[in-house]
């Protein structure tokens, strides 16, 4: 008795069905399928299933596809600032990122979109990390030396030695130092505070029109006045004041970027700053704004503001979040990650999102 002909493999059957079979096999497979109800049924089952999947393909939210061109244009404009026409890029450009460096790759890709990073060579991360660690260790040692070691004594003793007596201003930074030590803050810039107090002391002595300091009592009086001035100015420390003023004057980079009109309208409606800020955004405003922010994002109109909107959505979701809610956790995580990637490495947006992500309890 002649053996039953072998059935073609499923690869061959599907390739035949997809019109991808090599011509020399086509006639053979076709002849088999015509005469084999088992193979025909197998192909029909899969075809029916795929037809069902095509029918039920995920639909985009209302209005999303219609608004897509605009969003894409905004993204391209942001990415191609300074580039008027498309140009050839490295082949790696549109290849999916693989392996452990994917997050970095994603960030680089998002940054490239904004034209901030152009084919930056990959850094030798091991070397960078070890260098940064060494620098951090040196910094810690220096801070400890300043706080407890001979440097502090030098700093506190130097003005005393030069002024002939201890200017009271030196005591103020010492108080401030203890406050900062208690709060775990950075060490106060003792040297500059002490030197400034010394300078003020000198200025008082040298101020035009000031009576000449001839006796001990007058010197004491001047010292007390210098002490008061130093006390008034010792909180925050002069260097800190400078930094804070500078920060207040210079808006953060993300805030410099003008929001798109749609985003700006939303911000105005709910009194929100362009970038989420824990001290400036109330929970109530955030909760009220969330549905509109979500719709705005879903409509695909967020464009270059996508990262900032993502940060807001993460924070809004956090208002409802309780540890253990794995679904909401996943959503928040996704929002933060995209905010980080879209903000680009070392951006303020990415820093805020990273910091917030660190405090998110699972």
């Amino acid at each position: 008795m002649k053996n039953e002909p072998l059935h073609p493999s499923s690869e061959e059957l599907f390739a035949y069905r997809d019109g991808e079979i090599v011509p020399e096999k086509r006639a053979i497979i076709e002849a088999h399928v015509m005469g084999c109800s088992l193979c025909r049924s197998f192909i029909d089952q899969v075809s029916a299933l795929e037809a069902e999947l095509r029918l039920s393909a995920d639909r985009a939210p209302e209005g999303y596809l219609e608004g897509l061109s605009e969003s894409v244009r905004a993204r391209i404009a942001a990415a191609a600032s300074g580039v008027s026409a498309p140009r050839a890029r490295a082949d790696a450009e549109d290849r999916p990122a693989l392996g452990a460096g994917e997050r970095r790759s994603e960030e680089r890709s998002a940054a490239r979109e904004r034209g901030r990073v152009k084919e930056a060579p990959a850094l030798p991360w091991a070397a960078v990390i070890s260098t940064v660690s060494a620098a951090a260790a040196v910094l810690v040692v220096v801070v400890i030396l300043i706080k407890q070691g001979p440097y502090q004594r030098m700093v506190t003793q130097e003005p005393r030695a030069k002024a002939g007596q201890a200017p009271p201003a030196i005591q103020a930074p010492a108080k401030q130092r203890s406050r900062e030590e208690a709060s775990g803050g950075a060490p106060a810039p003792v040297a500059s505070a002490g030197l400034k107090a010394k300078k003020e002391h000198t200025e008082l002595q040298e101020a035009p029109g000031a009576p000449a300091v001839t006796d001990e009592a007058a010197r004491d009086q001047l010292a007390r006045r210098a002490d008061e001035m130093a006390k008034n100015k010792s909180e925050p420390a002069p260097a800190q004041v400078g930094m804070e003023e500078k920060a207040a004057r210079a808006p953060a980079p993300e805030e410099e970027i003008a929001p798109t009109p749609g985003y700006e309208t939303l911000l105005t409606r709910y009194g929100l700053p362009p970038v989420w800020n824990g001290t400036r955004v109330s929970a109530e405003a955030l909760a009220n704004a969330e549905p509109d922010l979500r719709s705005f994002y879903m409509s695909g109109s967020a464009g270059s503001d996508s990262g900032r909107v993502r940060l807001y959505l993460a924070e809004a979701a956090r208002l409802r979040y309780a540890p253990g809610d794995s679904v909401l956790y996943g959503e928040i995580l996704r929002h933060y990650r995209r905010a980080i990637a879209l903000g680009g490495p070392s951006s303020r947006l990415a820093r805020i999102a990273e910091e917030r992500l660190r405090t998110l309890e699972r």
Partner: protein, 200 residues
């Protein structure tokens, strides 16, 4: 602003690409219009949520725009673009530390459930259930199987394009696709058998 855009709906892809390369940036809108639906469909199928799909689609258009000078004029734009979408979507799901463990029938971040996403084409409950079975079965497959099925079923890409998108040989596409289809069939049959057992 009453500026009307020229109707380019009948202009071949290659000509539109040439227009964009010549500096008519607006012509790129036409390419977006032509491909946005399959692109979103493919991205969403692979990423399984709207937000990631949106990111993938927009990112892919930016990549395509930048790489337009490498587009071969003898090809159609859509399959070329869909391979970019597929790569971006795969990259997105690979980089996700925590895979989508949200059951498909629970509301996603966009508030829609799987049932919401199934179109109301006057389906009777049985047909609707069959669609849901198919969707759930697809969702239960591993990422790589779901991706290759999405490329073939939703992207309607030929094997050669799938091979390009996944950076694998065509022979591997054949075998992976066959395994994925078998797995899908098995998953659907399992679901339907369980339902039958429960109701009978």
């Amino acid at each position: 602003m009453g500026e009307t855009k020229p109707d380019r709906s009948a202009v071949p892809d290659a000509e539109i690409v040439q227009l964009v390369l010549a500096g008519e940036i607006d012509a790129f809108d036409e390419l977006v219009r032509r491909t946005r639906r399959p692109a979103y469909r493919l991205a969403r199928r692979i990423t399984r949520n709207h937000e990631d799909a949106d990111d993938v689609v927009q990112e892919s258009y930016v990549k395509a725009y930048r790489a337009l000078s490498r587009f071969e004029s003898n090809r159609a734009f859509e399959p070329w673009f869909l391979t970019i979408v597929a790569r971006s979507a795969l990259s997105q799901i690979r980089s996700r530390a925590r895979r989508a463990t949200v059951p498909l029938d629970e509301p996603g971040a966009d508030g829609t459930t799987l049932a919401d996403r199934i179109p109301d084409v006057a389906l009777d409950p049985v047909a609707r259930q069959r669609l849901m079975d198919a969707e759930e079965a697809l969702g239960s497959l591993p990422d790589d199987q779901r991706a290759i099925l999405a490329l073939r079923v939703d992207g309607d890409l030929p094997y050669a394009e799938i091979a390009l998108a996944l950076e694998i040989p065509v022979g591997t596409v054949m075998s992976r696709l066959a395994r994925a289809r078998e797995a899908l069939l098995e998953a659907v049959e399992k679901r339907r058998a369980e339902r039958f057992r429960r109701t009978s």
